[in-house]
Symmetry: C2
DNA sequence: TTGCAAAAAGTAAGTACTGACATAAATGTT
DNA sequence: AACATTTATGTCAGTACTTACTTTTTGCAA
């Protein structure tokens, strides 16, 4: 039985995220992580090798991309297919669930890209010479 | 003239975010920050004082909430209204632009809340006793 | 007179995140 | 025989993020 304070105008439970130790926060953290956002978007509608993915996402290091992919895989957002050869050949793609989050993340990212200039203008207006 | 690699199936420019030094990344960082997400959601459809906001968002410290609000204000997402009295009285609310991002962030957050259990199940399936 | 109220700002200390670099492995090339 | 290839892993230093704690302001209640 949820507390009243956990119920919101839409009638939906929202206490979750606002609560201190909520599991959702961990997932949120994973999905909104610096490289996770870019990785999810980069993986939309494509299967791609590790090295190609790294080239696609400007500025990621091996270390961070590996780590990001592992987290996303553990959460069930990313599928990892290993071809047992040397040198290694590994392909990454989104799971159906990963595709769902990616779409939401994408909408947000698109909005930001579309409004970056507007936001920059606002900032400068506040800090004139 | 954008490179072909910067154009995506939707016909939309996406090179932005994938490029190393893109201003959009900074905004993305602000919006997807640990406390920024929760702050934007908490401010949806309401004007609220600092202390009330802190109580609403479980686990934030004064310091972090202040910092988050300042960043969001500088980007033009949050409006800050100061009543010049002692003790201080300050009210926060979303700007029209802030309301737009908040809605996108909200959709993402809702999806995560709705799927947290499913994700947790997946994780456990991978790491049995 | 002491203390509390609310919203920061400032400081110092601690933790987490990042990135650069070195290493491994089996086969084909020089 | 030495070397490049690809996907990690491990280590280590450097940076950024977080938190706890202290200080300020002014009027009013104890």
């Amino acid at each position: 039985m949820p507390k009243l304070s956990e119920v919101v105008r839409s009638g939906k439970l929202v206490g979750n995220l606002m609560a201190k130790e909520c599991p959702s926060r961990t997932i949120l953290k994973h999905v909104t992580g610096r490289w996770a956002v870019l990785t999810l978007i980069a993986l939309q509608d494509r299967t791609i090798r590790f090295s190609a993915l790294r080239r696609l996402i400007g500025g990621v290091s091996d270390r961070m991309l590996t780590q990001t992919l592992q987290t996303l895989e553990a959460d069930g957002f990313v599928h990892r297919k290993v071809y047992d050869v040397v040198p290694p050949h590994v392909e990454y793609s989104l799971t159906p669930m990963g595709d769902e989050v990616a779409q939401h993340v994408r909408v947000l990212a698109d909005w930001i890209e579309d409004n970056t200039q507007k936001i920059a203008d606002h900032q400068e207006a506040k800090a004139p010479a």
